[in-house]
């Protein structure tokens, strides 16, 4: 058994080494794949705050992923066409600057998560799963039938947005940026888990009655967790949109929400680096299995089933043994 800390370090190094190797050997597509892993991992890390730490099984996180994506799409679209976002009561222009877009993406998805959380956290268990799913679908159908920003066609952004001091069009530099964001969010996530809030949230997951009996409001804790979680997933959405230079309603589809959960499960529920491992494994499988058979999703399904039924700790659990309490 390996200490989880060293395993985490190895994971981050591997995620860095693969694209660097690809950069040296001029395999830009591998860098793109690694970037995709990092972004999906980021979305998973966001969900894991709600799901792993808070025990909130959200089947609607695609809503925040999509909102982040559309925050990028809409801002960049207006900048690209030189049309203002709105003129009255005050002028808002589009932008091609990543930091601004990220900020908007985080704020918008946090706001949405707060509103959705306010309604859906009144419910628990299956009701919570289903109502988050329904909210996700609401966004999905809304974007499809809302004509202003392309409807089902989505929005294409021809040139990747800029970040001060970097050439984001260069795959390895964009990867570096995404990797940096992922690392920061992982640190934040670890800090959060060890903070006062993290302690109380984790306790609320295990025993709501206990938390209430010491005078802490479990609902408020969960609402905050859900909001932060949504914000991070929204940030991932903005990055994904920039990777693809494209946004569309499929970012809101419930399959997306399902895949986020799959990352977490493959890696190991509640593990800080679970989503990173899960996303990596998912992308690798997609490529290996996809190369073997047109019906690769059957094998993916079978593997997923096997992990759920027989390997509950996920991949990290298999290597580092059962989880130990944070202290």
């Amino acid at each position: 058994m390996i200490r989880e800390r060293y395993l985490n370090l190895a994971i981050m190094l591997a995620l860095l080494a693969v694209p660097l190797w690809a950069w040296v050997s001029d395999e830009p597509f591998t860098i793109t794949l690694a970037t995709r892993v990092a972004i999906l991992a980021l979305a998973g890390v966001g969900l894991n705050l709600a799901l792993g730490l808070g025990g909130l099984v959200s089947l609607g996180h695609a809503a925040f992923f999509g909102l982040g994506g559309y925050a990028m799409g809409i801002l960049a679209h207006h900048a690209q066409t030189y049309t203002p976002l709105m003129e009255s009561p005050f002028l808002i222009e589009g932008t091609k600057s990543m930091p601004v877009i990220w900020l908007v993406a985080v704020l918008v998805s946090a706001l949405a998560a707060f509103a959705i959380g306010l309604l859906s956290l009144r419910t628990t268990g299956v009701y919570f799963i289903m109502i988050t799913l329904a909210f996700g679908q609401m966004f999905y159908y809304f974007t499809i039938s809302w004509p202003a920003y392309g409807g089902e066609d989505g929005l294409s952004i021809y040139v990747r947005n800029g970040f001060p001091g970097l050439n984001t069009l260069d795959p390895i530099q964009f990867f570096g940026l995404v990797y940096g964001v992922l690392a920061l969010v992982l640190v934040f996530s670890a800090t959060l888990a060890r903070s006062r809030f993290g302690l109380a949230l984790a306790a609320a997951r295990q025993n709501e009655e206990r938390v209430r009996t010491v005078g802490l409001d479990a609902f408020r804790l969960r609402l905050m967790a859900f909001t932060i979680s949504g914000a991070i997933t929204g940030l991932a959405g903005a990055l994904m949109a920039d990777l693809n230079r494209f946004v569309s309603p499929t970012m809101f589809s419930w399959h997306m929400s399902g895949e986020f959960i799959v990352f977490i499960i493959l890696g190991g529920v509640g593990r800080l680096f679970g989503p990173v491992v899960g996303a990596g494994l998912f992308i690798i499988l997609e490529h290996i299995l996809g190369g073997l058979s047109e019906f690769w999703m059957i094998y993916l399904g079978a593997l997923l089933l096997a992990v759920v039924l027989f390997a509950r700790g996920g991949l990290i659990g298999a290597f580092s043994g059962p989880e130990v309490g944070h202290d």
Binding site: T30, E152, D153, E294
Partner: protein, 378 residues
Amino acid sequence: MKFRTLLAAASVAALGVAAQAEGVKVGMITTLSGGGAGLGIDVRDGFLLAVKQSGRDDIEVVVEDDQRKPEIAVQLADKLIQSEKVDVMTGIIWSNLAMAVVPAATAQGKFYLSPNAGPSALAGRGCHENYFNVSWQNDAFNEAAGAWTSENGIGKVFLMAPNYPAGKDMIAGFKRFFKGEVTEEVYTKLGQQDYAAEIAQMRASDADLVYYFLPGGMGISFMKQYAGSGADKAVMGPAFSFDQGILGAIGEAALGVKNTAHWSKDLDVPGNAEFVASFQAEYGRLPSLYAAQGFDTGLLVASAASKADVGDADAFRAALKEADFQSVRGAFKFGANNHPIQNIYMREVVKEGDIVTNRVIGTAATDHTDAYVGDCKM
């Protein structure tokens, strides 16, 4: 997602093909799994059949499955361009996927040949010298249908399409050439499967004709429900809801329905009968509209490859623009915006033996060109 089909033979010299700097590498992104996979499979099979029949061994095709997800398509495009270093791209079935992939691909200097789908944005202001549409502009079949409807003295029409951009394009196309009155215009939810509410409206309407665009399963559901509803209005639509793959699922409910298309398997033009026979021999099923488009796209690549070296982009582009191949649709050439100028035919669903299929009954539009060519500044 890698279905690599290597058609390059072992030795160029052994087969005596004129020495060229390099062959053409084609990257095909199409839908091979999930919903709508039938269309992609037909395009792929038609394309590969054309390449095979061309006898050229310098065309290599890499086929990838986009699962009908735009994100996947974009990633595959990155892969084909960055990793496989293809020269020509093709294969995308859906407008929204095309909008995601094509602008970026052409901006990176790749050729893109559309074997299906022609969003208006790519025909007008967003046109590009490296983008060739070998199928149709989205509005085309509908414009022809609108013209035909007016010419045949039908005055009142009920219009229906899903509430998404392609649906609205199609309805706009019909209205552009239709001179009569639109009594109702209904937009349904994308993916909707139950049309009882809309059919009730149709029966209550005083329109003479129901014109609708509902691709894939939506069209199947609608037609089956319409036929059982007792509604007696004539029905018409673009060919997408009445193509071979779909008629099998609708069955006799579709008999008599008119639809517009640029191709039909009974179309009497040189090469078409041979195409239908060879496709059937190769794959054991009747070719669809999509197979025909894939086939023509394959012919186009082969014709351009025989005229120019793909390394010389200007020469290759000129060779593509000549469209010097025997289209299974008959006369075919590219307009100023690299979109087809072609005939659009009116077809009727008939029964041949046990098989429900289409028959050409007339020409709805001759040498039809799209409405956006004027917006294209190329």
